[in-house]
Every structure is written in C-alpha cells, then in structure tokens.
C-alpha cells in the first residue's frame, strides 16, 4: 500500500501489491485452488500443511535436513584431533526460513541486553518520574525510559549487599513511631514542599493498626532524590505542572489553594471534591478499591502492598540477625548501639570502645620579642674563681662570661677529679696519716694478706712477689689490678718494650701535668722492659680506689697509643725496624735479606742465592679443584704458616747465649730457622763471594773492622755451639768443607751488606751516624745494624713504588 505520492512517509510494505485496477479491463478469472501455488525464494514449490494457514514445507521436500535426511554425525576422535565437544543449539535444527523474517527465530537487529529492559532501577526511575512530573509536558520521559539502558550502578549493588532492598530508604533503621511522626509532621508542612509522590507512600496508611513493638526497627522511608533540574520556562519558582500521580492518589494534600500547586484544585475538580479526608484516594490501590459512588472514606478495602514487604533477593536475607521485620528478637536493640543499626559487612564488627579522642595541646604562645636563634654562653666555672664573691660570679656567668678568662675548663663531673684536686679546690689541707689501710696493719699481717692474695690470682704471682718485697714502702703497691688488667699490662709491656723513640707524640693526660708526668714515667719504664713499671709509677699519695683507676687508665692509654702497630709488619718491609720486638705474628719462614740477593742478581748468579722455598699450604678446595691430593692433609693452615713468636734478626740468633737481663723477659728462643731444602750441589760463588767481602771489609774503615771483628766473634761462638760436628774452627775453610746452615749466610751477608752500604758511594750519612751510634752504644749494636738494613730495603721499596707508578702509567 505504499503510495508513491507520499514519499515523506516511510512505510514498510509486506507482500506484493495488487495491480491497479483499470476500468475497462475485463475481470480476471479466479485462479482455481489447485493452481494457487506458493513458491519459495528459490522457486521451489511449497506445499501447505495444516488446515488453515499451515506451515510450509520444511527441509528437503517435506523431510528434514538434506536429501539424505538427517545424517547422523559420526563421532571421530583421534590423538591428533580431539573431537571437540559439540553443543547443540536450537539454531542447528533451523533452516533459513526459521531465521527469516517470519520464522520462529528471526535474525534481525535487536537491542542488546544492555539496552533491553532488564532489572529496573527504581530510584532512578523514580527520579525520572519526578522530573517528568516537573517537566512542562508530564510524562515526557516515557520515551527516554524506553530507549535508555537500564543498568544498576555499583552503589546500588553495594547497598543491596548491605541488605538494602528496593523501596527502602538508606540509613540507620528507625523505629516505627518516630517515622510515623515524621511523616505526619511532613504532611502538615505548608509551602513549597514537594508533595510525597510515588506508590510507596501508600504503605504508611496501613500502618495504623499494625502491631509495632517498641524494639522493632524498620528501614527508613525512602527519599526521593533532590531534584537538580535547571529551571526552564517562564513560570515562577517552584511551579510544577499537573501531577497525575497526585491526582490519582490524593493524599495528604494541603488544603489551601496554592497558585503554585494547582494540582490540588485540579484533583478536587476531577474527583468530585473529595477533600475531607487526607487518606482519601481517588483511584488508588490495586483494584481501584473505592468506587466512585462511595464517598465514604473507609479505606483499605483491598490490601495494598509494597515491595518492601518482600524479599527481592532469594536467600539474601541476612542470616539470623533478624534486622528486618518483626521477627526481630527482643534483645536486639538492647544489644546494639543505636548509633548504627545497619547491616555490618562480613568480617567487621562494631568497635566496643569508642576511638580515643586525641588531646591536642596548643603550641605555647611565643613571646613577642622571641627570635629563633640561640646563643650559647661559654660555661664559666664558678668554683675556680677564687677571690670572687659568688654573686659576682653568678653575674659574670649570666653576662656571657667575657670578663673571665677560662683557666681550666671543667672536666665533666666530680668523679673526674681526684681527691687531691678536690682538696685543692676546696682549699683543704692534706690529710695526715697513712693513706692506705694496709699501712695500719702490722707488717707480718700485711705479708700474710699479700701472700694470700698472691696465691689467689696466679697470673700476677710475680707482681705480688715483688710487692711483698716492697711492702714496707709507703707506696702501698698492691695487686688490686687483678688478672684482667694484668693481661693488658703484659700487652702494654710487649708493645712498648725496647722502643727507642723518646718523643712522646701523644699526651693523654695533658690536662693534669702531674698525672702526665707519672704516665710518662710509666712509659719509660715500659720501654725499659720493666714489668713492675705500673706499680712504681703510680701516685702514692692518692687513695686506693683512685690508684686502681689510674692504673687502668695508664694501661689502656699505653695500649691504645702504642707505637706503630706491628700487625702490618708482615706486609711492609719498613716494619722490620722493630725486628727485635718479640712475639709478633709473622710468617714462619721469613724471606731472607734482599741485599745479598740483589748482589747475586747483579752478578747474575741466579740459583740458590735468589731462590727461596717456603712451605705453603693450599686450600683444600683448591686442591680438589686442581684434582690433586692435599699436600698437607690434616693441617688447618692456609697459605704460609704463621707463628707467633719472637722476631729475630740474625744477630739475635747468633747471640743466643747472651741473656737479656735488661728486658727481664723469659721468652723462649725460637728454634733454628727451617733450612730450605738445599741440594748437595755447591756453588763456587759462595766461597769467593764471601772471601771477597771479607777482604773488602778488612779494607774499610775502623768501624767496619769493629763489625767484622764482632762477626768473627759470633762466628766462632756459633761454631762453638755446633761443636758436635767436630769441625776445625777455621772460618775460611769451614765453608768449603761443609755447608753451614743458611742462617750463617744470612748473618754474613746481612753484616757485609751493611758494610757495603756504608762503604759504597751511595752510602748516605744516615748510615754513618747510625754506625757511630752503634759505636757509642755497644749494647745496641745489633739493633742498629738491622735498622740500617731496613733503611736500605726501604729505599728498595721506594724504587718498587716508582716502578709501580710507571706500571699504572
């Protein structure tokens, strides 16, 4: 029926149009029934089925599927091709007709689920309804509702999880009584109040007769959202169009006629002026329960229902706690705080105690002239200001103390001062009488006491022995120091003994000159190797307690500021300066002197003279990785074996028989240095070289003659010690006949190298002075010799350093 003339309108045409009738055309013969055929789009005939309209033929000539009918699908599944699970859908059994326009499953464009009407968002609908009421044309949003997608927001979902149901309000639950009052009060409001709209309000009306126990709470009334529609149109503020909902419901309307609320009047016009009862509904309820003829206001003819009575969620009712409805237990509200009555999320509980209020202290008020800069006043010791009145001193201290020169800064607390200083500060006289309790005892008692004490602490036996000898002296030396400080004393003694440097660089007790003097005395005695140094250098005039304190201080200071530590001596050649120091951690096999090796190198005599062999312990794992057996199984040593023992110079070794009385230590003399495995082969250079050196030495100055004489002496002495070998004591041929131990070579070459350095052109004056010193001090002769060796080797290291620098360059 589409007409060509009206092209603006868009008709959808079905079927084939009839041909236009023509006036003069003869009537067509009607087509007999058997000739009326239906063909499908492919031109095939279709038969009718059924009596009336009939279905068309389905499938293949009224069969299904294809010519072969339904071909049963064969199930094939192999390892390579797994048969996928085939889900049969209804569409598999449909042909194209069914999908066609008139089929049972027409394939056409439809709204997707998002846009189809699903679950309804009532709040939004309500809001939209309100908007629609407020709009100029009521019900304007109807089309919008049809089109717009309806989808729940996350807030609604959350609310629903928390037990909210559609139609309820949000918030803590309220009691029925209050709610009723609220609604009643709300209905009395005059003015521009939005009238209660929506069907939910009607539930209030049937609450009168309801049994409402005291402790049952209900969900709050639903609120319509605030309308934020912008004002359009020329109407006045608050103007609203006719509200059909109001017209239909007609409840609680204000009685007076308002210009801006025309609906009340309109309603009264419409429904016969039924104004007297606020509950009078016009057309209300499910079945329009009140007839038009009845003007009586007997309400509730039919039950009215509201969605809040029902559970909208299956099983979603909160388990057990019965928050909602009247099956709520009696004790419910007693138990709970009324401040929050909603459903608490799973895993949370209400806090038993309210959160502590933080007490906030306000910052103090600053004075007006406050400046945030602090000036330190120099501390003034009032007590040292002799002759100044305390008031004046106080005043001086307050006024930054510029007038007072700081004589002696206070040394901490009063415990820093000893009794003598306190005494002088106080201006007292020294006490007369014995200073120690020991002096009050009889001498034999004292002796017995000391002996007792000496037997109790074993390590300090010697000290106590000495003390008991000197017990009559007023110094009152006692072994109060105990065994702990005794070990420290031994350390200090080991560190300081034999140090020649008189220049005391560090003065720890400089503040106290007398104490410093005592300390230096102590150090001097330490250097001389005096074991009793500490006791002798303490102040005899102070109390026992102070003396023990001072003892500790001295020992600690002497250990702390001991001369340059010997722990580095294994790495640096210069550390050999302290070669006569005993008991240091050194490699057991010291490398021999460099100078004789250097001489050998200069003479190109590589071999025994330049070769040294040490015992060396590889790590066990290293041997395992190199796939070789461990050379020293069972030894825990790695690397060069180290021993803690006396360092010895060759001279020390040669003067074995000399007892070192000055030091007084009973250190064990080291065993003979291990001889490197020497083959029996003898180098002819050894003899000639030595002879040459001897002659060279003879030709030299008298000092070297003295040295050579000393060496001859030592050689003979050594020979005497090795008398067992029954050798003729002829130094010249004793090297030829039998090979002496390597230490003798060391001795010889070390000594001769010293002469060589003094005799050679590069021999500097330092060496000469050293040797002269040696002449003046015959006791220290050997030390000097070794130190000169050290100086020459220091020169050597300097050269090496130069080379290293060139390396890096």
């Amino acid at each position: 029926m589409a007409s060509d003339s009206d092209s603006d309108e868009d008709f959808v045409s079905y079927g084939t149009p009839l041909e236009p009738l023509e006036e003069d055309e003869p009537l067509k013969k009607p087509v007999p029934l058997h000739e009326q055929t239906v063909k499908d789009e492919k031109g095939r005939y279709q038969r009718f089925h059924g009596a009336f309209t009939g279905g068309f033929s389905a499938g293949y000539f009224n069969t299904v599927g294809t010519k072969e009918g339904w071909a049963p699908s064969t199930f094939v599944s192999s390892r390579q091709q797994k048969a996928e699970k085939h889900h049969v859908r209804p569409e598999d059994f449909m042909d194209e007709e069914d999908f066609g326009e008139h089929g049972i499953a027409p394939k056409e464009i439809t709204t997707s689920q998002e846009f189809s009407s699903g679950r309804r968002d009532e709040i939004r609908e309500k809001a939209r309804a309100v908007n629609a009421q407020a709009a100029l044309i009521p019900g304007d949003t109807l089309l919008e509702e049809l089109i717009a997608p309806a989808r729940l927001s996350i807030g609604v979902e959350l609310l629903r999880r928390m037990g909210w149901k559609e139609g309820q309000g949000v918030g803590p639950r309220v009691k029925r009584k209050a709610r009723r009052q609220q609604t009643d009060g709300g209905s009395r409001v005059y003015g521009c109040v939005l009238p209660p709209a929506g069907s939910e309000d009607s539930e209030d009306q049937d609450d009168d007769e309801e049994f409402a126990p005291e402790d049952v709470t209900f969900a709050p009334k639903d609120e319509t959202p605030v309308d934020f529609t912008p004002k359009v149109g020329v109407q006045g503020l608050g103007y609203r169009g006719l509200d059909p909902g109001m017209a239909l419901l007609g409840r609680g309307a204000p009685e007076h006629i308002d210009l801006f609320r025309p609906q009340s009047e309109a309603r009264s016009r419409l429904f016969g002026g039924a104004q007297r009862g606020s509950r009078r509904g016009g057309v209300a309820g499910q079945a329009f329960g009140v007839g038009a003829m009845e003007d009586d206001d007997d309400e509730e003819v039919y039950h009215r229902d509201s969605m809040s009575r029902y559970d909208t969620v299956l099983g979603g009712e909160e388990p057990g706690d019965g928050l909602y409805g009247w099956t709520a237990p009696q004790q419910y509200t007693k138990k709970r705080d009324a401040s929050y009555l909603g459903k608490i999320l799973e895993g949370f509980t209400l806090a038993q105690k309210p959160a502590d209020e933080k007490t906030i202290f306000p910052p103090p008020d600053l004075p007006r002239d406050y400046r945030p800069v602090h000036h330190f006043r120099p501390s003034v010791d009032v007590s040292v200001l002799s002759g100044v009145s305390p008031a004046l001193a106080e005043a001086l201290r307050a006024s930054r103390g510029h007038m007072v020169k700081e004589e002696e800064p206070q040394q901490g607390g009063r415990h820093q001062l000893d009794s003598g200083r306190r005494r002088t500060l106080l201006g007292e006289d020294a006490l007369q009488g014995p200073s120690s309790v020991m002096e009050l005892l009889r001498p034999e008692d004292r002796q017995r006491l000391l002996n007792l004490r000496g037997s109790s602490n074993v390590p300090s036996t010697k000290t106590t022995f000495l003390v008991s000898h000197d017990a009559l002296q007023p110094a009152g030396r006692s072994a109060v120091g105990g065994s702990a400080s005794c070990g420290l004393q031994q350390d200090a003694l080991a560190a300081w003994k034999g140090v020649q440097t008189s220049s005391q660089t560090f003065r720890p007790f400089e503040k106290n000159p007398s104490k410093q003097a005592r300390y230096e005395l102590y150090l001097n005695r330490l250097k001389q190797g005096d074991k009793d140094a500490l006791e002798q250098s303490l102040d005899p005039a102070v109390t026992e307690w102070e003396r023990s304190r001072e003892r500790d201080e001295f020992v600690r200071a002497s250990i702390l500021y001991r001369p340059s530590s010997s722990s580095l001596s294994s790495r640096f050649t210069s550390a050999r300066q302290q070669e006569d120091e005993d008991s240091v951690e050194v490699s057991r096999d010291q490398e021999g002197d460099v100078d004789d090796k250097q001489a050998a190198v200069n003479m190109k005599m590589f071999g025994k003279l330049t070769r040294e062999t040490f015992e060396w312990h590889p790590d066990k794992l290293l041997c395992k990785r190199f796939n070789i057996p461990v050379p020293y199984p069972g030894s825990g040593v790695v690397g060069l074996p180290k021993v803690k023992r006396d360092k010895f110079s060759v001279f020390n070794f040669l003067t074995v028989t000399e007892s070192r009385d000055s030091s007084g230590t009973l250190t064990e003399y080291p065993p003979a240095p291990p001889n490197p495995p020497e083959p029996g082969k003898r180098s002819r250079w050894d003899v000639s070289d030595q002879k040459k050196r001897e002659e060279e030495a003879k030709k030299n100055d008298p000092l070297s003659e003295l040295l050579s004489a000393a060496r001859n002496q030592t050689e003979t002495r050594l020979e005497q010690t090795s008398r067992t070998e029954e050798e003729v004591s002829e130094p010249a041929d004793f090297t030829e006949q039998d090979r002496p131990p390597m230490d003798l070579f060391k001795a010889i070459f070390a000594g001769s190298s010293d002469e060589k350095s003094s005799s050679s052109s590069e021999g500097d004056s330092n060496d000469e002075e050293d040797v002269k010193d040696a002449g003046e001090q015959p006791l220290n002769l050997f030390n000097v010799a070794s130190s000169s060796v050290a100086s020459s080797s220091a020169v050597q290291t300097g050269e090496q350093l130069k080379h290293t620098l060139r390396f890096t360059g």
Binding site: Q598, V601, F606, T610, L621, L622, G639, T804, R806, F807
Partner: protein, 308 residues
C-alpha cells in the same frame, strides 16, 4: 726397506704478516689465542672483549659488561667459557655462545692485571695490582675466592697456570711458583719488576721478562738462570713475552715497535719483527703452529711462517 729420515726442518719464525684486524675497540690491551688456537680474544680499552676467528679474521662476538678497560682474558679448554679481568676490579666469567655474564667476581682492591683458567676451567686465578692472587671457584656459587695468595709485596703483573703449578710475576721483582702438589712456594728474586712470566712448553723452565729490558729463562726446579735475552726495550710498560710453540725461540714485545725473537739455546737475536711505530702491547703464540699475534694500538696482527 727403510725410508730415509725426514730432513729435520729448520725452526720457522712467524715473519710474514698474514692479517691485520682493526678491532674497533680502542687500544687493544691484550690479545690471546684460545686453547686450540682457532680463535683469538682481544681485550679493548673500550670495556669490550671480542672474539675473532683466527683463520678468517672475522669478528664472532663482542662481550660487553666490564666497567672499565679489559686487561686480560683467557679461554677455557673446551671453549665454552671465557674469563676476563678489567680495571674495574672485577673478573668476569663469560658464556661464549650467549655472550652473557655467567659470574662477576668482585674482591680485588685494585685493577686486575691478569687472569687465567686452570687446566680444567674449575678455578679462575686472577692477579691484581693490590698484590694478591685470588683463586675463584667456577663450580660453586660462592662469591668469595677459595684462597687469596697475598705473599707478593707489590702488584701482580702476570700469572700462569700449568697443571698443578702456579707462576706469578710481581712488581716487587719476584717470580713466585706455587707448587700445589708439593705444598711449596718457590720465590725467585729477579730484582726488577716483573712484567710477564711464562712456563715453557715442556714445563721445565720459566721465562720472565722484567723492566730492566731483560728476559730471563730460569730453571724451574733450581732457579738457576739458563739464558738471558736482551736487546729490546722494556722500561715502563707491562709487555708480554712468550716462548714459541716448540720452545725453540723466545719472543718479547718491545717499546720500540718490534717483536724480538731470540734463539732459546744460543741466546742470539734471530728475528726482529717490525710491527709498527708504537709500543707492541701484547703478543701471543699459537699453541701448536707457527703463528703469532701482536697487538699494537687498536690493531691485532697475525703473523705466520709463510704467506698462505
């Protein structure tokens, strides 16, 4: 019927320049053959280590991961791993195929001058300017060395491993040989700072070059000097020396741009190979053939007996 004895060939010297590789990695600090001599490693001052094919002269792979110039490198016996040391105080163990850092070994206090695998590539030995030789375990995941050999009084300049022996040359002028099997340390005093040490192929001698422009051949067991080779100039640089593959000649770098080659027995200079004008930094002799690698500035030159 006896065949006549083949005429003994005269020992040949690598006097013909076969190839010049422009390494493109700054100055080449060291060049090394791998264990079988088919590949060569060049240590560049641009922090990279490069692997080349010795026969074709093509670049095979670049190993980058060092933080400063690479000073030495070595390849394992099975060519699966490389180790290199650098001025950044680290030793790196590389995977040859992937070029990834297998392990980065830190512990030296100064730049690491030399590095060497042991025979089975289970231990890396590295000598540093801090005077220590550190033995790193490649088998375990420990990052601490197995043992630290701190006997040297000055920096270690060169290190070589042969079977169970470890030869180190130090700037303190001593050649130290650690005999792991015997548990002994032999110290040979040379007096001049050592720049390079080598074992001879037969394992009986040690060769050491020092900064007094002398190369010395010492008997390993006694320490006696078997030969002394002079004529070149080695005053300030750490230059390499080596023995030829059949122990017939002694070769050394020189600061005058030549490689000196002495007859081992006679001690006479048999070849003075002009490499260039600058200092010949490093050299390496092929383990079996007559082939020599030299490094000068940014180039590596391959020298052979005859022009192929």
């Amino acid at each position: 019927m006896a065949f006549p004895e083949p005429r003994p060939q005269l020992p040949q010297l690598p006097q013909h320049l076969l190839k010049t590789l422009d390494c493109q990695q700054g100055a080449v600090r060291a060049v090394r053959f791998n264990a079988d001599g088919n590949y060569l490693l060049s240590c560049g001052s641009d922090k990279s280590l490069k692997l080349w094919s010795a026969s074709r002269g093509t670049l095979l792979k670049t190993y980058s991961g060092h933080g400063y110039e690479v000073l030495d490198a070595d390849g394992s016996y099975d060519n699966s791993q490389l180790c290199s040391c650098s001025s950044d105080k680290t030793v790196i163990l590389w995977d040859v195929a992937t070029g990834q850092v297998t392990r980065k070994l830190r512990g030296h206090a100064g730049k690491v001058n030399c590095v060497q695998f042991n025979e089975e590539a289970t231990v890396i030995l590295s000598g540093s300017i801090d005077g220590t030789v550190r033995c790193w375990d490649t088998r375990s995941r420990r990052f601490e060395p197995i043992q630290v050999l701190d006997e040297a009084r000055d920096g270690i300049s060169s290190i070589k491993v042969a079977q169970h022996e470890l030869l180190t040359g130090s700037v303190d002028g001593r050649v130290r040989r650690y005999d792991l099997r015997m548990g002994q340390l032999h110290v040979d005093f040379i007096s001049s700072p050592i720049t390079c040490v080598c074992f001879s192929q037969d394992g009986q001698c040690t060769l050491s070059s020092s900064l007094d422009s002398t190369v010395r051949l010492l008997d390993k067991s006694t320490g006696e000097m078997l030969g002394e080779y002079k004529g070149h100039k080695m005053k300030g640089y750490k230059l390499d020396c080596c023995l030829s593959s059949k122990d017939t000649h002694v070769l050394s770098c020189s600061e005058d741009g030549h490689v000196y080659c002495w007859d081992l027995v006679e001690g006479s200079l048999s070849l003075k190979l002009p490499v260039g004008k600058a200092v010949v930094q490093s050299l390496s002799f092929h383990p079996t053939e007559t082939c020599l690698l030299t490094a000068m500035e940014g180039r590596v030159q391959v020298w052979g007996a005859e022009i192929s």
